[in-house]
Symmetry: none
Subunit: 126 residues, 4 copies
């Protein structure tokens, strides 16, 4: 919370987020090949170094693996991909609860507040 200013999450993490979202939404599945660093850099309009860093980060998390000379692939390890979903979900929810609790909201208020915004939100997307 508090933010509002420069917001700014590093670009390389934003790209990682995007890829994670695609995985979680099954737009990318086990074994899929990611665009090459250069390709992704061009289509995303960023420096290749930045994409490189994204891929490294994802590899560190076990989500992708690079095969020399072939490219970068979503891991075949389905368990990791499943975990990713539940992990991101849990992380999101727990963070949300903690922040709301810090602000003195009761569980009931969290749910009703969430409901409220979900309604006024119906029918959008990025």
């Amino acid at each position: 919370m508090t933010d509002d200013f420069h917001a700014a999450k590093p670009i390389y993490l934003q790209i990682a987020d995007r890829i994670n979202s695609q995985i979680v939404r099954k737009e990318l599945i086990a074994g899929d090949k990611l665009p090459s660093v250069r390709e992704m850099a061009i289509t995303s309009g960023v420096n290749p170094n930045t994409v490189q860093r994204t891929y490294s980060e994802l590899e560190r998390m076990g989500i992708v693996e690079t095969r020399r000379g072939q490219g970068t692939f979503i891991t075949e390890d389905v368990k990791i991909l499943m975990d990713l979903r539940s992990h991101l979900k849990e992380k999101n929810i727990v963070t949300f609860i903690e922040d709301m609790k810090d602000m003195g909201f009761t569980p009931e208020e969290m749910i009703s507040g969430l409901r409220e915004y979900l309604q006024s939100d119906s029918g959008k997307g990025e």
Copy 2:
């Protein structure tokens, strides 16, 4: 989302968050005096400059005002303090919804997921 690593929000903003929480929870109310820069620096274990920055940031947001030679005080402008609460609340909820939506969760899943964690969470503290 994604994070887990370095996390890292600047210290001076973390302190600002903490103060905002206290305001929102009514532990700090309009007109209250904040600890002096030096005092807060010691109790928070940081450099006075860092606290100074926190206070400047809060002043920029209209949440506190400094009176020369006297100290830093929560603004008397109750409206700003009210707005703070609803602003933080909204920000939290909207972010949560967006992130969950990115991950392909339906509104129903968000609410049930939230419920689930709220139960297993009953009776904790920071």
Copy 3:
């Protein structure tokens, strides 16, 4: 220029300004007695130290003189009071011109700009 933020000129100088204005507008004239430090502090709602500093400053400028046990008086030296007026005037005008010049305005634009605001300004006061 640039300002906009905390603005903030020290209180003791604000008070000095106010007294100078009164002199220049002949509301205070040579030999007049100023309120005592305590009195002025109360009516101005500030710390006596602050008023003390104002008087010291004015004395340093030769505008007032303090007579022990009697109080603080506007100087009898009319020349200084006359100079005050022209000095403040000059200072004001010169600063104005410099700032406008910095912004790339021509003398003609300064005068026309000034005229413009003087018209829309007719009939106000603090």
Copy 4:
């Protein structure tokens, strides 16, 4: 007004003023890159932190934007830059008028006084 002593506007704001002047005079235009913090620090003979502060201030005002790892740039938002000019102009003029009015000058005297100094001023620089 009144001043003459310590004058003293913080260095970081003086630098901001300078940059604002350059923008208003079209010496810096939308999209231009500012010197790096370190560079500017050296050429201005101040500490990098001080320049950093200047840039932060300008960013807060929406006049510049920083691109990570690339540098600090004048905003592409031309409207902000236009507003800057008129804002600074207005601020200057209004302050001038108020101060002169405090001193008991009539609008006519302001204009004739200004004229007077503009003539004796023809052909100078900083």
